[in-house]
Structure formats: structure tokens, C-alpha cells
Symmetry: C2
Subunit: 315 residues, 2 copies
């Protein structure tokens, strides 16, 4: 995936995405001892960067593929993204979701026109169900993170950020399935000026950290994290990009995640997901690394359940 492809991808999806705003906070800069530029993908359509990759993946299909629809398995933001992107382009989206997925997530997918197929809450069941949909409708399977078109699409957020701030020293993203950080790392390499990509990951789900150490894709040992978007693992399409272009992964505690999330809510006055706060938590954990640097922070999404928030007691 070269620079030209990333540029073409961006032009292609522009009609379907927002060029999201970049926010700053003097107070957070003061706390970090650095200058932070928050790329607010929580303001993206459907509330997360996933819209970018989903739009690009569908637009890369042939006309006959589009007529047969697309299918994915996800209970998170990619389910909503693929549904909305498909709806925007007149394509049918089938979403395989575990039976026990929260009602609010099912409603969101339906609200964007997605066709939900429920399955047992196991990886095997959802892969099996996806295959049946592919057979039944001739639908094209689109993976939420391990897909070249998806990776390129996710990279356009960092490209936009660098268009505004070309001299960032670092760009930091949370690491879940690896699509966002792989796309970001490509964009930083192609459009940055020595801009290095760093990942943030919970200790309670540090598959990417360990994968970079061992040189092979590792699974998660635990996924007992509030950052529910980061429980997935890397794939064979994005891992080589991450190995080549990502400088390192910084792990953070659950307490650090909640504290960073609270900072974003209280100081930036925006809603971000726990997964998004992992990137800021990484910067605050390693202040000496980032001292006086200019740092792009990708706020990956803002879809949270307001009824169950982690702000239990006064600071």
C-alpha cells in the first residue's frame, strides 16, 4: 500500500466522511509537558474512525459485488460503520452479532439500515454464520481491521491531521485489531516529517505489545479492560505494517485509562470512549519520552453507554 493509494483512498471516501476537527487544551498540554493535538474521530459519522475504512472497503468493490451486499461480524463500531457506509452507497450490509450483544448496539446497527444476524457468542459461531451469509447472498466479507482497504481508510484520519499540523513529532493511537494503527503508521510515514507512530494498549489486553516483542501475532492473555474496543487481536495484513512502521507500544493501567478519559471529558468537553483515552493515557504515563514534543492523539470514537460510566467517585 503506497502513498499514491492512500491519497486516492482519501479522495474516494471524502464524500462519505467528515474531516473532523482538531482540538487542543492548554491545561492538558501543561500536564503533559508537551503540545497535544487531538484528532476528534468521535465527531466522525456514526461516532468513530471506523467509518473511513468501511467506506473505502465498499467503494473498492465491483458493481456486481456491491449488488450482492457485504457482511461482517462485529458487535462494536465497525458494525455501525459498515451499516452506515453501505446504506450511504445503496448497498446491503449483513451484520453477524452475538445474541447477547447490548440492545443499544443492535438498535444502532438497525438505525443505520444494517441487517442483523444473531449467533452464539463464540468466535466459531460468528465465523460460521458469516460464511453462510457469503454463500447464501454472494455477499463479500469485510474484516473490521485485517483488510487492506480498511487499513488505508483508517489512515486518512492521520493524513488529515498532518495536513493541519505537518510537523508532528509523534502520532499516537489506541491498538485494538490493528487497522487504525497500521493505517496511521502508513500515513505518518508518507505524509509526516519524521513523525513516529506509537500505540497505546491496556496492560489487560497487550497482544500488540507482546506481538512486537516476539515477532509473531500473539493473542490476549486477559481482556479484563474497560477499553472494550481493544480486546481484538492483530491480523496478518496489519501486523507486518505495524512491525515496519510503529516505533513501540506503551501499556497503561485501567486507572490511567479512566483518568485520561475523565480529563478529555472535563477539559476538552467532549465524549470519548474508554478505548480512545488509552492514547492520552500513554502520553501521560511516559512524560519524559514526550517532553516538549508535538504529538497527534487520535480520539478514535465517542460511542459510550452513558448509563454505565466509570466516574464513580470525586477526584
Amino acid at each position: 500500500m503506497d502513498k499514491q493509494q492512500l491519497m486516492e483512498c482519501h479522495e474516494r471516501i471524502k464524500p462519505f466522511i467528515h474531516n473532523t476537527p482538531v482540538l487542543t487544551s492548554r491545561l492538558i498540554d501543561g500536564m503533559a509537558g508537551a503540545r497535544l493535538f487531538f484528532k476528534c474521530e468521535n465527531f466522525q459519522r456514526m461516532g468513530a474512525f471506523k467509518m473511513r475504512g468501511a467506506a473505502n472497503a465498499i467503494m473498492q468493490l465491483t458493481e456486481s459485488q456491491k449488488q450482492n451486499g457485504v457482511v461482517t461480524h462485529s458487535s462494536g463500531n465497525f458494525a455501525q460503520a459498515l451499516s452506515l457506509a453501505a446504506q450511504s452507497m445503496g448497498v446491503k450490509a449483513h451484520i453477524v452479532m452475538p445474541r447477547n450483544a447490548p440492545q443499544v448496539k443492535k438498535d444502532a446497527v438497525r438505525g443505520y439500515g444494517g441487517n442483523i444476524i444473531e449467533c452464539e457468542p463464540t468466535l466459531e459461531a460468528r465465523e460460521q454464520e458469516s460464511k453462510e451469509i457469503q454463500k447464501k447472498y454472494g455477499a463479500t466479507f469485510i474484516h473490521p481491521s485485517n483488510d487492506d482497504a480498511v487499513i488505508l481508510g483508517q489512515g486518512t484520519a492521520c493524513k488529515e491531521l498532518l495536513e493541519l499540523h505537518p510537523d508532528l513529532d509523534h502520532v499516537i493511537t489506541p491498538v485494538g485489531g490493528g487497522g487504525l494503527i497500521a493505517g496511521t503508521a502508513l500515513a505518518a510515514a508518507y505524509f509526516g516529517n519524521g513523525c513516529k507512530t506509537i500505540g497505546g494498549e491496556p496492560f489487560e489486553g497487550d497482544d500488540a505489545y507482546r506481538s512486537l516483542l516476539s515477532g509473531t501475532i500473539e493473542g490476549n492473555i486477559t481482556t479484563n479492560t474497560i477499553a472494550d474496543g481493544l480486546k481484538t487481536q492483530l491480523g496478518d495484513r496489519n501486523f507486518p505494517i505495524i512491525q515496519k512502521h510503529v516505533e513501540r507500544i506503551i501499556r497503561v493501567t485501567e486507572e490511567e485509562i479512566v483518568s485520561a478519559m475523565r480529563l478529555v471529558w472535563e477539559r476538552l468537553k467532549i465524549i470519548c470512549e474508554p478505548s480512545s483515552a488509552v492514547a492520552l493515557a500513554a502520553v501521560l504515563r511516559e512524560k519524559e519520552t514526550f517532553k516538549d514534543k508535538k504529538i497527534g492523539v487520535i480520539i478514535s470514537g465517542g460511542n459510550v453507554d452513558l448509563v454505565h460510566l466509570p466516574f464513580q467517585k470525586p477526584l
Copy 2:
């Protein structure tokens, strides 16, 4: 207060305030059956529009007045605004606050360099204490809402909104002490193109609604509302402006306030105060009035206590 004065005020305070962004939401537009433009004063410095009026009021003082400092009584956003505006201009700010004000509010005022003087939690005590500070230091008293310089300053938010969207049919603000709506009404009259100002007020604190009916300043009968910024009452400087320029006040229930606040959080992905949500609640309550109109909605502030949120149960 004429058009020229409002323009001069805006130029004067520009170095001390943000020109805050204007957000839109297709989903909320669809629900309202109108086009809404949210002027996001939650992104203002210290988190609320009050920064505008405070900055203007201090800048209008003579050099010798500035040397003697300023004083106000407030436990809300104006306390923070006057502290930060004063600090930005090298002026001392004395803030009279009730002893039982939340610690988080006291900390915020101190964080902006304000000098807190605690008093008993009664109106008499705080007025008495303010007078003593005026005597002791020669400090100038600045009222949070019933002050010409403050009213003009608050009007600059609407002026900025009309610079971006000159053809608004309505602009809607919450009504507390009356400073914001009076300034907004002046800006709409001077810079709008037939733009009418409407207020939103809780049923549980409808002094402005009743004041407009009776033609005299009425007190609140109850203030049992979540919109804690709106418990104050109108004053003799802003009431005549409101009588002349505000078309009407729409009252909303507590349930409507929480529901509108939740919409702003979930769909705009921004943090707003309950008081701010009153303006949107008014639009949603009277959809027939606003059908197909272009409406400016002032999101007045974003300082909330994340530990005590009203989102108790799933929708």
C-alpha cells in the same frame, strides 16, 4: 447599548476569548424537523459563555479601578470566569462564595487565581460580604448578569454565530439571570436578518416567563430544577432589553431537560450542562413553531459534575 458598542466590545475581548465552533447533527435536525446550529460555548475558556462578559466588564474599568481589583458573588460559572479574566489581565478577583459551595467549584476558582471569601449561604450574607470587600480594597463589584458590560460581552457569542450563519430565523438561549439572553437579543436585533430571540426556561424556575407576562421582575416560586445555572432571577438592567427584544419564553419539564442533554451528549458527542440543554429542549417541545426554520442554539456551558449525572437508566 447600541450596535457600535457591541462591535467595539467584541473587538476588545477577542484576545481573551475563543471564537467557539458551531456544530450540527443530521439526526437532531431530523428529530426537530428544523436545521439547528449549536454555538458551543462549552468550548469557551473556563467552559462557559460567562468568560465573555467577565472579560468585557474588567476591560471597561479605569487603570486605578483595575489596580484595586474586582469582586463578585457567585458559586457558579461567573466566579470562574471573573477569576480567569482577571488573572489574564493581571487584576485581582475576590469571589464571595457560600461556605457550602462544592469543593470542586472552590478548587476551580482557586485554579484560576481567584481569592475566595466564604460566607453564610444566604443572599444577605453574600451581599454584605461583597460590600465589605468593596470597602476594604476599593474593589469594583461586577454583577454576574445585571451589568451593561457583562450583557454586551455575552452578546458576542450570538454575533459570532450570525457571522457564520447570517440567515437564522431564531436564536434560542437558556434564561437564568438574564445576561445571556439580553446580550443575545441585542446581537440578533443588530446583526440578524429578522432573527428572533427566544428563551428556554425550566417550569421549576420560570421567573422570566412570568416576568414577561406581568411586566415586572418576578422571583422564582420554586427552583427545584437540575438546571442549576438558571435559578437566579432577572435584573433591572437586562429586563427592559428582554421585554423589548425577546419574542417569548418556552418552559420545559425536568424530563425534557435531561432528555435533551442526553441527545447532545450522545449525538453531538459533547459535554453540556443541564442548563444548556434547556434551549434544545424548548425547540423539541414546540416543533410546530420551529418547523423547517434555521435556529441558532446557544450551548451555554460544559462544566458538569461527572460523578452525579442524571442518566440513571437506559432509554
